[in-house]
């Protein structure tokens, strides 16, 4: 990142609670942050609730952003935290039995050329909240099991077993859809 950019100036205006700047920032970031919300939510309406909470947090806590690192990265962390507290209210994370894990033989490039982002999103949303949360944090956000166990107040073993279950379910869905595409083409 170099010097002062238009975007930094926009963030500064938002720090002064300028509504026009807030509206601009919202327009720039909301579609991508909504993508994050959709991954953690079970459906669009939950995702909208999380996005709303997130932007209220972003604009009320923006004073804490110190221009170290990207603003979008900071905003994403706010969204993830809002998603976690949204589901902390009504869902608990349980340990599940360890399962034998075997990875798919499909190549990611082949799968991604046959299955759309929206379809992948639907598969994630069909997971139970606890599997979805751990999978998102580990596979997409890149947190370690140790970090996840602290964030969710669960043991590392629970985090690992939830991840295995999530992977297993997603693998079944991906292979089923990919297989049906291959037959029909």
């Amino acid at each position: 990142m170099t010097g002062t950019t238009d975007f930094d100036e926009l963030v500064r205006q938002c720090k002064k609670n300028r509504r026009d700047a807030q509206s601009k920032l919202y327009k720039l970031l909301s579609p991508r942050l909504f993508g994050v919300c959709l991954r953690y939510a079970g459906n669009r309406s939950e995702a909208e609730d999380i996005l709303q909470d997130s932007f209220v947090k972003i604009f009320t806590k923006i004073g804490q952003f110190d221009f170290k690192g990207s603003f979008e990265g900071w905003a994403r962390r706010v969204v993830v935290n809002c998603a976690l507290s949204y589901f902390r209210r009504d869902s608990r994370l349980y340990a599940v039995d360890d399962i034998a894990e075997y990875d798919t033989q499909l190549s990611p490039d082949d799968v991604l050329s046959a299955i759309s982002g929206n379809e992948l999103m639907q598969m994630v949303q069909q997971l139970t909240p606890q599997y979805r949360t751990v999978f998102n944090l580990y596979a997409i956000e890149g947190f370690s099991h140790q970090e996840i166990s602290k964030m969710l107040n669960i043991s590392e073993g629970t985090s690992k077993s939830n991840l295995s279950r999530a992977r297993c379910m997603l693998q079944e869905k991906v292979e089923a859809l990919y297989g049906s595409r291959r037959k029909n083409v």
Partner: protein
């Protein structure tokens, strides 16, 4: 760390996923920033008020035997009562309080 293919598929497919956001979300954010409650909450409160008024009206139309000071509840048209309850209800002392509370 992520060498798992399923992880790779979902990470590359969804990491930068974006989607169109309904207008209502920004309106709700603005309202919350202004210190007002969101539309959803307003509707929830409105629905609760309507319910309490209905219950209060039902109670007034049937069990008016207990003399209680009535303010907001007394102005409710008792013919609006949704379901006339059986006469002689003497176990519902809180409805009157609720009706007064809701009136503010």
């Amino acid at each position: 760390m992520t060498t798992n293919n399923i992880d790779k598929i979902f990470k590359s497919g969804l990491e930068n996923h974006s989607a169109e956001v309904p207008e209502l979300v920004w309106e709700n954010v603005e309202q919350q920033l202004d210190g007002r409650s969101s539309n959803r909450r307003v509707w929830l409160v409105a629905a609760s008020v309507a319910l309490l008024l209905g219950v209060g009206a039902a109670w007034l139309s049937t069990g008016g035997s207990q003399p209680e000071p009535q303010t907001a509840g007394a102005t409710v048209d008792t013919t609006m009562a949704p379901q006339p309850a059986p006469a002689q209800i003497d176990y519902a002392p809180n409805y009157a309080d609720s009706a007064v509370y809701v009136g503010e």
